[in-house]
Amino acid sequence: MVVEIRGGFGMITRLNAMGIVPGKRIVKISSMIARGPITVEVDRVQIAIGFGMAKRIIITLDQ
């Protein structure tokens, strides 16, 4: 589950608009080597997020 997005206004706007909002369930599909993008699934949509941006999305794990 997404807990918090630690970023500037612009970054939060963009992530929110794509459905990455605190409280949403988010599933990591894959991560690319060498600090490449992380692919996640939110609301049955896959989204690729650059490493630096993904690092600032704070989540908690399901039990």
Partner: protein, 569 residues
Amino acid sequence: MRTILLVGNPNVGKSVLFSRLTGVRTTVSNYPGTTISYTRGFTKLGEEKLEIIDVPGTYTLEPTSAAEEIALKMLKNGNVIINVVNATNLERSLYLTLQLLEMDTPVVVALNMWDDTKHRGIDIDLEKLMMILGVPVVPTVALTGEGIKDLVESIPRASSPDGPVRSRDERWASIGTIIDQVQRIEHRHHTWLERVQDASVKPLTGGLIAIAILVLSFLVVRFIGESLIGYLLEPLFNRLWAPVVLWISTLMGGSGFLHDVVVGKLVGGEVNFVESFGLISSGLYVPLAMVLPYIFSFYLVLGLLEDVGYLPRLAVLMDTIMHWLGLHGYAIIPTLLGLGCNVPAVLSTRILESKRERFIASTLVSIAVPCAALQAMIFGLVGQRGGQYVVIVYGTLFAVWVILGIILNHSIKGFSPELLIEIPPYRIPPWRIVLQKMWMRIYGFLAEAIPIILGAIVVINMLYFFGVFNAIANLTAPVVSGLLGLPKEAITSLVIGFLRKDVALGMLAPLSLTAKQLVVASIVLAMFFPCIATFVVLLRELGVLNMCKAAGVMIATALITGGLLNLML
């Protein structure tokens, strides 16, 4: 006349819907950001004529890229908004819907890709959704045309419900409530397509899939292109057209200025379609028999990759490498489009967020990404001397792309933004859509290239006739011969390269160059300066100042690379 805007998230099928409504053909693909500027068309509602505008996709009314800014500006001019929503991703789409409802313009919602909801186990209560939103909601399948009529008929019922402007959190909270009430999802097992989908963004399997797809694409493009030339077009021109050309040549007296413009110079009493340079010899042979087959095969393969939805996955895999060049993974899309034609490639840099990225991407494309027409000629002419020379040309261009990218990244202030893209599901595209798009692109090539090629041939003959080329050749001889090791006449090809690069490369054929000289000349021609069509778009997209900077980079890089190759080979 009322103006209807098609507004929605990227890649929900707005352009397909637009084509259905207006009959105007547009480029559609399976990746976000295919439409980078608006297209307009017309449709009829009873007796009333309506103007329909296809607006680039946007996730929010708070713009984050150049294409989204265009979308926002368009909104002010609309009388009615058709909000196109992906029915399989209602949650995400509703955010924009709620924002649109807060505005004063009446809205109709089109729930597109409605057919997909059934086999994905998604059930949406239409009545309830309509009641909650307070506007008409029409299920549509733009690909087949289902629901289009209902959609048009619902336009008079479009409304703008009264409601307060809400904050972001309030909107998300209300989306949660709406979804709970109208949508039920059955759990489904992964299909094989979904498994391939996941595998193609994982490092190991994704890398292997990427290599396999790129190698296969290259082989298919070559195979189809070569076969069309070898078995169809070459025999056609040599057996059927050559006698006609010879007959016209005799009619025109066999020599003279007019004869040379129309038929070209005969080589040993025969027509040489590559070297003659007349309107009805090279003027038809170059575009139709050398370039067109590759345009056909390239756009067939590119269209398939686009419509299946592979390109965003390639962007994920290439992201780290593209960051070295000051770009992010999505810049792979302008780069691949550039292998077809640099003009749409430069236009598509609008999907990138910053001016800096757009400058780097456009400059790199126009220097180091040869268009299909030029590549066809490289295969045709350089390939004759041996495959290794083609490899040198491509290897050099690729090395320049990487090295120049790294240099630009370090010398231009700023940083490269992070990748953030939606990855669409794989779709098996209907052949009709793939072929339709290919036809549009081939028609575009024929309509734009042939007049310029024929014009270029007249210009070439006139410049030769009046001795202008000789004057230029003598003037530039120190650079062309001294630095690049080419005969001074090769400058004619670089000059004509401003008109069309395929014809320009063809001009090198009669110069009896060595293989090494041909390699150097092809590379310098590819990099030196964009053709006029690309030049115009670059000027418009970058502005005069940045265009001058880009041109400086191009000329310098071309001369340095050409000079080095001349010393090394």
